[in-house]
Each structure stands twice: as C-alpha cells, then as structure tokens.
Amino acid sequence: MFSSSTSKAQCKPSLVIVGNGMATGRLLDEIITRSPKRYTITVIGEEAQGSYNRILLSTVLAKETHYENIIQKTPQWYQDNDITFISSTRVTDIDRSTKTLTTETYHNDNFSDISRAQLQYDELVLAVGSRAATIPAKNQNIEGIFSFRNIRDTQNIESFSKNHKNAVVIGGGLLGLEAAYGLASTGVTVTLIHRNKWLLNRQLDLVAGDMLKKVMAEKNITFVLGEEVVRFDQLMNANNKASLSGIELTSGEYRKADIAIIATGITPNSELGDCCGLEVDKAIVVNDYMQTSDKHISALGECCQHKKSTFGLVDPIWKQCESLAIRLTSLHLQKFKNAPVATKLKVSGVQLFSAGIVESSEKTQTFTLCDNNARVYRKLIIENNIIVGIVLFGDVSSGMDYFELMQNKTPVKMHMPELLLGAEYMLDEKIETENKVA
C-alpha cells in the first residue's frame, strides 16, 4: 500500500474500475459517501452510457418507460464527482508487475475504427459482470437470435421485433419471464420454452409456478415446459442473410418463430483475470474483503467468486460494494458475509417472495394457503420447529418477518397455522372460549 502521509503535494493514488454496470455504480456511491477526495477515479466501460438499472430493461422493452429513465449515472454525474469515465472501451491486458492496463476503444458500431492506450493504476477493481449463458442448440449464429443483457440487446430486440412478431424466449428464470412479459406487452406473440417442470423453479414450487404461468398466460404468452431447443431453423432473408424461421425441440416438435431471446442464465466474465494470472475457478476468486490473488486488484459483482458461490442478485452484491469501499477508504476492514438472501421479485405485476428451501421432505412439515381466484399462494416449510423455507406468491406480506424468524431460528410451531396468514397473527394466543355451561 502507498503511504498516505506525503511531504510534498504528491498526486493522489489512482483507482481504476473496469466495467461500468450496477455494481460499479453502487461502489462509486459507497466510496464517495466515505471519502470522495481520496483517489483519482477512472471508470472504463464497454457500453456508451453511464451505469444503468438492468432490472428495468424489461419495462423499457414493454414501453412502460424510456432508456433515459433507467440511467443511474449520467455523464454530468461523473464530471460533478471528478470521475473520468472512458466509455465504449474494453481492457485487453493487465501487466500486474508495472500495474498498467492496455485498453481498446471503439469509435463506431462495426468495430472498424479502434484506438489503443495504456493506463497506470495504483488500485484496480474488476467489475466486468457476466454474459448470457450459451445453450447446446445447433445453428445459432443466424440473424434473429439475441441475448437480453444490456441496452444494446434491448435496442436490437426492439428494432428487430418491429417486423418480426413471432417470438420465442428460452429460459423460465426471472430474466426470461421479464423478456417474455416485455415483448408480449408490445403485441408480439411470445412462446416461452423452459427446461424444468415449472417456472422460476429455484424460487417457486409447482403450485406457485403454475399460478405464475396462469397470470402470464393472460398476457397471451404460451408456455412449453420440460423442453429444450435442439436446433434453430433458418431461411434466407431479403438481403440474402440466414435468418431465424423456427425451432426444433427435444420432443421433436417444430414451432415457427422469427425472433429468439436466450435467457437461460449467466456465465461470469473471468477471462481478464485469467489472462493476467489471477486465481480463477467458476469466476475470479476473491477473499472476504473482495481481494483477488493480487492484493492491489479487487473483483466484485457477477464476475467474482467468494467461497463456492457466484452472484446474480442485487442484495449480496451491494454488501460486496460496502466491504470493498470500506477497505479502500479506511484502515479498518469489514468482511463480506454471503448470508442467505430472500428473493423479492415483481414479475409482470405479481409479487413473489422466496427464501430457504422450496420443496418439502420427510423431515419437514409444510403449511400451505391457496386462494386460486385471488392468485394468492403462501407456503412455510417447518423443520424441528423452525422455518426452513418460505414461498409467497401474489401476497408477500410478512415475508421479511418470516425471513427474520428463519435466520434467528425462532420456534414457530405453536403459532401455526395462523402465522402463515401474516405475522400480525403470531402474537395473539388462541382465544380461550369460556366454559359455556354454568
């Protein structure tokens, strides 16, 4: 570490952050609130815009809001906070011995005009996120197949779907559902293909998955569950290019489709760490303080791996930013603890809440509440008198209370089944009916 007390006015240490996603946006906030003047900060982002809220991309696709409303860091913001933002630029090499980066900047869309540069760093943060996972289907590099990760993907989908109205979305996780909802809202007919037996199968059970399917079906989205795409079919379009015309499924069934979005999950971008010799497993490995195997290089967000876990949800990543910001701006340290996290989602207007295990077993007792017409389903899984699983669909009231009870391992059996209806029923003892006969 460089010494902080300097005799002459030495220039501040330089902090370079590679990647300009949501994690970087949050990290900058955490650093600025603690000591804005400590570093000269440079952010290098592949995309043109400042960091923006990727979760809202589906609402943009659904034309419920516009791109500018989801930008969290405008160019003006960077200027006001003396942060140099180098957009449309990738880092291609890191020389750890001289602590210098090599960058490539693209000055037009078809990557024909490229300029390179070198950049010194005292502290380097890798926040390069992840990319859409690939699927083992044949004939993928044809026109009409998109991932749904960033603004460019959204813009491409938006323009392509203007005259391609028969879409298929592959992946029944949150991203796939959001993409399907976004497209369907603009009048595109959408078919969603999902490998498992029910949607959001890691957060919901069969009943809740089925209810979600009913809700989304009302937005005229049709579902094909328990199937995968084995081959994309193509036709030659007007300008003699191969373009998507249909898909073939594991069951052999063929469906026409002229636009496809692949949203089956994410793969961490760990190449940059790999090429400069950092320790990499499923992603760039970091310790409890977000430090990689090089103590001047940190990593966080979807590109890092802490103990055995990688990350896709907002809550733990926010804790990583806090831990890293504290280390970079003060002398004390705060461990990043990857505590279990409750998944709180809003899919096409439906509230979901899920934590802990989703399926019952021999050792558990499961309490369920099902109101089909109100599209409300609530489930608590109890083991040895404590909550080990929460699934709430349609009405998520008391979700955080249950989550707290789960984490604190509070005994709950005597409050069942009323507790399932809401924490407000937990405190009341069952009312004793007075002994009726005199």
Binding site: T59, Q72, Q365, S397, L420, I431, A438
Partner: protein, 905 residues
C-alpha cells in the same frame, strides 16, 4: 293540512295481553304488535304469576317468530292438499278402521301445549263419540305421578297451594326440582323472598348439585330414587319427636297409623334412613327439624319425584308428612306440585288422560260414566280406562292400535325408548299429526299432516301450576292455511257424522260447555250444607272440587275480556280461590284426606358394574325439543351442545376425557355429547339434557336410551334413572363449519347451533381429517371459489367458500382436539362481501389489527401505496430521495423508483 294526516302506511302499534308459551309458571306477557309482527314482548305487571318479570326465554319470544320452516298446507302422504280432502281422508280412514277393527283401534296422543278448548273437543270426540278411551298426553311423562298422588290423598287431582305461599312461608323444601332452569320466575320469587326475609330457609333435595341448590341453605344430595325413604323417615321423626298434629290426624285424615307402621317395618330408625339415602345423619336431622319446628312449610316437587317407577308413592310419602302435621290449607303451608308444561293443568281439568273420563270424573267413580254420557248425549260412551302413553305405542307396535292422531308434541324424540316409538309409527296404518314447524322427527313419520296455529296465533285458555286460568290471545294472523287444533278436530268430528255435537263457532262456545260439565250434577260435599240448597235432597251425581260453573253461561265478549283467576269459580266462590282445603274438607266419601302406606323402593333397574345411572333434565335457555327456542342465537349462547356431566372419578374409571365427546349406549341407541367434569355430580350418576334431537345433533335423542319402565299406578316413565354404558368417542379430528343455511352434515358427531346471522356446526369424526374442499362441495354445490389452508402432515385444515366474494362457508378442523377458538368474528362475516386481496386473512378466524398498507410498490422493503401516499400527504416528502430516507422504499434495487416518481407528478 290537518295534523292527523300521516304519510306512512305503518299501522298504530297495539298491545295485547297473553301468556308465555313455555313452562308451567304461566307468566303473563304484554306483546306490542304492528303489521302482523311482534315488535317487542314485556312481562305483564298486572299478571299475578310473574308481576312483570320474564325469564330469558320469555323475553326473546319476538326473535323466535318468522314464517320460515312453518307447515302451511295440509298434506296427505307428502302431497299438499285442501282441508276438505285431508279431513275427509282422515274421517273416512277412521271410519274404515272402526268398522273393521272397532273404535278401540283409534288413539289420540295430546300435549300439555294444547289449549283447554283443543283438549276438550279431542277428549269429547274420542270418549263419547268415536268410543275409544285411548286418549293420552305427553303430560303422562311429567305430571301423571303427582296427579295420581293428589287423587289418592285428597280424593281429587288438586294442587292446594299458590305461588304467594312461597313468599309467605318459613321453610321451602324443593324436591327433584331445578326451578332456576325449569321454572325461572318462580325461582326468582323465591330468591326475592330470601332477600326480604332472611329467616326463610331453603332446602333442596336433589342427587345433583344445580343452579338451584347453589342458593339453598341446605342441599341434600341423596342417593337417586330414595325420596320415599327420606319422607317415611320424616314421618317417623315427627311421630318420635311429638311434632304431629294429632287433632288434624284424628279429624281430617285416615290411614296414619298404618302408614307409620309400614314405614317402621322398612326403617327401624333415623340412622337407617341416612344410610338408605346415603346422606350425613346430621344433615338429615337438620332438615327434619326445619320441617318439624316451623308452622309454615311449603314442599315444592317436580320431575325428580314424578319421573320415577314409584313416582306416585314418593308423592304420597311427601304429602303424608304435610297431612300428619296439618301443614296444609293455610297461607305458606302445603305440598306444591309444580307442572312442566304451560297447559298440563288444562289437560288434567278436561280429563285428557286415558285414566279419566272428563272434568275430574273417573270411570271408577260411581255414576260418573252415566253423568258424562247424559251431558254429552254421547252415542258411544267409553266405560273403562285406555292405554297410557308407553302402552299406547306398544299397542301400535302390536297392531292393536291402527290409527293415531298426535297433536302439538314430538313423541319420536321425547318418549322413552324413542327409536322403538319411531318403528311403531312406521307400522301404524294411519299416523295423523297436527304440527306448526316442518321436519320435526314426528312429522317425518306422519301420513297426514295438519298445519296448526302456534303460540301467538292460538286463542284459548291455559291453566298454570297454581290453578290460575288465563286467556291466551292471538297476536298474529296464522300463516298459510294453519287452523286452530279445536277447529281441525271439529272438522273431522263433523265428517264422522257428529255434526251437531261439534258445531262450535268460537272458543268461548267450547269453554262454556267445559264449564257447564264441571258444574253438572256436582255434589261436592265441601260446600256448607245451607249453601247447596238448590242441590236436590238426595244428591244424585258425583262430587268434584273442580267447578268453574260460574262460566256455564259466559258470553263471547265476557270470554274475550277474561281476567286470570284461580278455580274453583262458582256460586260459592265467584272470585276464585287462592288456597284449597282451608276448611280441611277433602273429596273422599269421609271428607277426610288419606295418608297412604308407602314402602320405599329403589328404581327398577339397578346399574351393572360397568354402567352409570343416566339422569335427564332441562337446561335454562332451551324448551322441550327446541322447535321454537332453537330458532334464536341468543338462547344458544348459554349451552350450545348436548353434554354429559360426569364426576371426575367416574370419568377416570371409564377413561373419559373432559371437554371431549363421549358416547352413551342403552337399548341399542347411542347418545353423543360433550363431556363436562363436575363435582356437582354424585359418583355413579351422569346428567344429560332432554332438548337435543336429530334436527340439532348427530345422536342426541337422550330418551331413546331411557328404558320404558313406568310407574305401575300412573304409567309415568322412569326418566330420571336409566343405567347406561359410557365409552370414549375416539375422535381423530374435531372442528366447526359456519355457513348461511342448514346442511345435511354426516360426520360421526355434529351439532347445529343457530348463530347471530349464520348457522354453526360443531363437528368431530373418527375418520381421517379431510384434505381438501371436496366434502364441502358436496354439501354446497353452488360454491366453486375456495380458499384452502392446510399442512402436509394433515394436522389442521381451514377452508373458506365464497360466491361473488361473499363469505358463504368457513370450515376449521384439526387433529388437536383441545384446540379452542372463538368463531364470533366469522359468524359476523358470513354473507358479507370481502376484498379479493385480503379475504384469505379470514382464515385466521379472528380480526387482524394489521394496518392495510395497500398494494405493494417497493418489494424489497414491503412498502405499500397507502404508506407512501400518507407520507407525501403529510408534506414530509417532496422527492423520491426523501421518501427513501423516511420509508426506505427505492433504496435497495431501485426498480420501483419510476413508480415512486409517478406519485409526485
């Protein structure tokens, strides 16, 4: 515009005086009526029986009115028809059966809830015109013993005392009477008397501790059925301690020596009495002293003594002591049999029993048959007693009786060995029933059903326990084609060809004839010689004290203005008589009372080792088989399930759990009731209420377990003592079902309870807990919007059924049998519309005080729209950031920020 023009079609409410339909106290009530509706009911301050007071049943009479479940049309074999066809059908069938099997194959079974005029024409038709003496009444089940004891002692069925005696006495004995529940207003007068006169002593003799014994100075919890031993013991005590009234014995009684010796043969001394009755010797003596040392003693007795296989003997043993001490015929002294039903006395006055002819005249009184035959000009006068109630249904079963006409009572529920009665009726060629309410158990066995008027529509006289006759007036017009019972009987009588003898136009015509018969050739010697000058020298006729001949020429308007009065009412006593025997003259040839020799006898059937003695009786807020009181929620709040009161030691012996369901068995009938541990119960004896039946509970017809053992003299069944087996009811689950209408529930145990605006069923079953709403769908096919909360180990399940978001059904069951919960919140929500979002919270069964935060905007922190709007309205937040600081919304994943912004534009 003149002031008397009003702009409403509401009619001036008018007030009508009448009497309460329930117990034998016979309280006077003032009902306010408008637009054929009872607006309110108050106690009639001017009526001597209750002086303005009313018990909870009387005061909630207006809540029991209503046309639902009323029988509106005559039906023959289930098909609605006209009065003409139905009465012709009955008359023709009667005639056919008479021609083929003789008049003796016809029977009538009447009720203490018929009015005196109904009783008179029924009795007259059968005993004088059809020619069958098989006319009995449900009073056989409650008053036959007392009536026979009075006849043996006084020569006539006379209740000497009046309610005022209870307020003007030194000691009150209450034997076999839980007046607090069965005669609440008489009980309230006793309580008031205790307050006004601290010296007044109240002694309660009852094996069971009850609400009545709670306020007693002395409670003698004697062994069941040993009352005769107690009173024979008292007779000996009085003799041994020189407490007799030898002058009275010599001049006014017969049979004292023989009775005393008979008593001594069984009990050599007082300690033997204490042993026989299983009570402390000191308590026994203390009670004997109270009787012996006070001039004014009233002994009130009821079903505890009457409903026994030796009920008549017990009654006489008690009366013997009053006669042996002359404690009778003056204020504050005498035996006082209190009647169960409102007009049991009316029935006894008319003679509507198979053991009498009419008006206190008996087949065995010389000249009585001829007297009545001449008065009625009867074509087919009967000459001997008929079947008593239990024998009557036995005779039906044996085919001796081919047709029975049942009026205003529910024998399929109230008769002992009730299931046998049901089979007997099924075998009977013709079962005719007069009834006001649909689907009583007896109506279900009827071939012909006549819609009868009920209380509030009936018009006629009733007599209460203290011989006071009151006119019960109509308040409402009868619904549908309902007719008065006397009108129906007269219709059939005319169709049987007895046109001229049953051509009554109005109740007063019948009452006038009834009064006439009471005075016809009445040679009661009790009248001073000079007063009976208009009687011929050689008195031809029969002496009876019951004489209301003052009304032998009563006009219709005098009848309509009839004021409550205690009979006799004749030339000698134009203003009625408060107390009888003030002249110590009794109605035997000798003019003396008989002291009857009585041997104490225990109940016929002793319990086997594995049996308990079942005692049955009333509870405070219900009446008979709940046909009327079961219609209002208020009367269900005191006790809402059939129950079994058992001593904890007995419960332990048979491993019966408290507050759970238990099963009683006898005569291959079953009773299921909620167990109540109570020390008030003697060991070896249990108590069950008489009110529940197939309409209100799965297996609660308690009288189906009562052995058909009767008193040899009067035929009254031994309701108070039936050995039964008890066993646990192995419930797997219990719960409740609350809905908006009556359902045909078929769990092993169920009880229907009328709630404020819904019907509640308490359920329990030995099968497995239901796992979904299928069984409810079968009961309520019109509901297909269900909310279900359950667990996969099948420990509990709650289901709510909706229609257009209205809660129509709520079911809550669990395998935890001790689970307690209040259903009041749900009862109030039945039929109420719910919000689709929060309706699932109803399954908590209680109100939630959780604040309604509105639709959720920020999922991360569960912040609802209402909280956001409230903060903005409070002016403390003008930007999304400030909102975030105050409520945290938008400060985590930020995806709700666009929505938050919208609140500011």
């Amino acid at each position: 515009m003149s002031s008397d023009i009003i702009f409403t079609d509401a009619v001036e409410a008018k007030e009508v005086k009448t009497t309460c339909p329930y117990c034998g106290v016979g309280c006077g009530i003032k009902a306010t009526i408008a637009n054929n509706q009872i607006i309110s009911v108050k106690g009639d301050t001017s009526h001597p029986a209750n002086l303005g007071r009313l018990c909870v049943k009387g005061s909630s009479l207006s809540e029991t009115q209503g046309q639902n479940e009323r029988i509106l049309n005559p039906t023959v074999n289930g098909k609605k028809t006209s009065w003409d066809i139905a009465t012709s059908h009955v008359a023709d069938k009667f005639q056919e059966i008479i021609n083929e099997h003789g008049p003796e194959s016809i029977a009538f079974y009447l009720s203490g809830q018929l009015l005196t005029e109904d009783y008179y024409v029924a009795n007259k038709l059968m005993k004088g015109f059809i020619g069958s003496s098989h006319v009995d009444t449900n009073s056989r089940l409650c008053m036959a013993s007392a009536s026979a004891a009075h006849k043996r002692a006084f020569g006539e069925d006379l209740v000497p005392g009046c309610y005022e005696d209870l307020e003007k006495t030194d000691v009150i004995f209450m034997v076999g009477s839980n007046a607090a529940y069965a005669h609440p207003i008489v009980y309230q007068r006793i309580i008031k008397a205790q307050k006004n006169n601290p010296q007044l002593k109240l002694v309660v003799i009852d094996p069971r501790a009850t609400a009545t014994s709670d306020t007693a100075d002395l409670h003698i919890a004697l062994k069941p059925g040993t009352d005769a031993y107690y009173y024979n013991g008292l007779l000996m005590y009085l003799a041994d301690n020189d407490k007799l009234n030898s002058d009275f014995i010599a001049q006014n009684t017969q049979g004292f020596e023989k009775a005393l010796n008979t008593a001594r043969t069984q009990l050599n001394d007082i300690t033997a009495v204490a042993v026989a009755c299983d009570i402390e010797l000191s308590t026994l003596i203390e009670s004997y002293q109270l009787f012996a040392n006070n001039k004014k003693v009233v002994t009130m007795f009821s079903q505890g003594i009457n409903q026994s296989s030796t009920g008549v003997d017990k009654g006489n043993a008690l009366i013997n002591c009053h006669l042996a001490t002359g404690k009778i015929g003056y204020e504050g002294a005498g035996p006082f049999s209190i009647t169960g039903q409102p007009n049991a006395m009316g029935g006894r006055e008319v003679g509507g029993l198979s053991t009498q002819i009419a008006a206190h005249l008996h087949y065995e009184d010389p000249g009585a048959i001829d007297l009545v035959e001449r008065f009625w000009q009867a074509p087919n006068m009967t000459t001997k007693q008929g079947y008593k109630a239990v024998d009557m249904f036995q005779a039906i079963d044996e085919g001796k009786i081919k047709a029975i006409w049942i009026m205003a009572t529910n024998p399929v529920v109230s008769m002992p060995n009730a299931n046998f009665v049901k089979q007997a009726l099924k075998k009977c060629d013709l079962v005719v029933v007069n009834e006001c309410f649909e689907n009583t158990d007896t109506v279900k066995c009827a071939d012909v059903v006549f819609p009868a008027t009920t209380w509030g529509e009936k018009y006629g006289t009733v007599t209460n326990s203290e011989r006071r006759i009151t006119l019960q007036k109509p308040l409402l017009t009868p619904p549908g084609q309902a007719k008065h019972d006397w009108d129906i009987i007269c219709n059939v009588a005319k169709k049987l060809g007895f046109e001229e003898a049953f051509n009554y136009q109005h109740q007063s015509d019948i009452f006038r004839e009834h009064a006439g018969l009471s005075g016809f050739e009445n040679t009661y010697s009790g009248y001073k010689a000079e007063e009976i000058s208009d009687k011929p020298e050689t008195p031809q006729g029969v002496s009876r004290f019951f004489d209301i001949s003052a009304y032998a020429n009563i006009t219709k308007s005098e009848y309509e203005a009839f004021k409550p009065i205690q009979w006799p009412v004749n030339k000698q006593h134009p203003t009625g008589v408060a107390r009888l025997f003030t002249d110590n003259i009794f109605n035997h040839e000798s003019g003396k009372a008989n002291i009857i020799s009585v041997l104490g006898q225990l109940p016929k059937k002793a319990p086997k080792a594995d049996q308990l003695i079942m005692n049955t009786g009333r509870i405070r807020d219900q009446w008979h088989t709940m046909t009327r009181t079961g219609r209002t929620a208020k009367l269900m709040s005191h006790a809402d399930e059939p129950f079994i009161q058992i001593h904890p030691q007995d419960a332990k012996r048979f491993n019966i759990a408290d507050k759970q369901i238990a099963q009683l068995n006898n005569l291959d009938a079953t009773f299921l009731g909620r167990v109540q541990y109570t020390e008030q119960q003697r060991i070896g004896e249990i108590f069950t209420p008489i009110h529940w039946n197939d309409n209100f509970s799965a297996a609660a017809k308690v009288s189906a377990l009562v052995n058909p053992i009767t008193d040899a003299i009067c035929g009254q069944p031994e309701f108070k003592h039936s050995p039964v087996k008890i066993s646990p009811f192995n419930a797997v689950w219990s719960g409740c079902l609350i809905t908006y209408k009556t359902l045909k529930v078929d769990t092993d145990y169920w009880t229907k309870i009328r709630a404020s605006n819904s019907i509640k069923y308490i359920l329990s079953d030995t099968g497995s807990l239901p796992t979904d709403e299928m069984f409810l769908k079968a009961l309520l096919p019109d509901i297909d919007d269900w909310v279900v909360m359950k667990d996969d180990k099948s420990e509990s399940i709650r289901i709510a059924g909706f229609q257009d978001n209205k809660l129509l059904c709520f079911f809550n069951a669990s395998t935890n049998l001790n689970e307690k919960y209040s259903t009041k919140f749900i009862e109030e929500n039945i039929n109420q519309t719910q919000s689709i979002q929060t309706r699932f919270k109803l399954l908590a069964g209680i109100d939630s005080d959780a604040e309604d935060i509105g639709a959720i905007v920020c999922s991360c922190f569960q912040i609802g729209e209402n909280s956001i709007k409230a903060s903005i309205a409070a002016g403390s937040c003008n930007t999304v950031e400030e909102l975030g600081k105050q409520l945290k919304c938008g400060t985590n994943c930020g995806s709700c920020i666009p929505e938050l912004k919208a609140y500011f534009t």
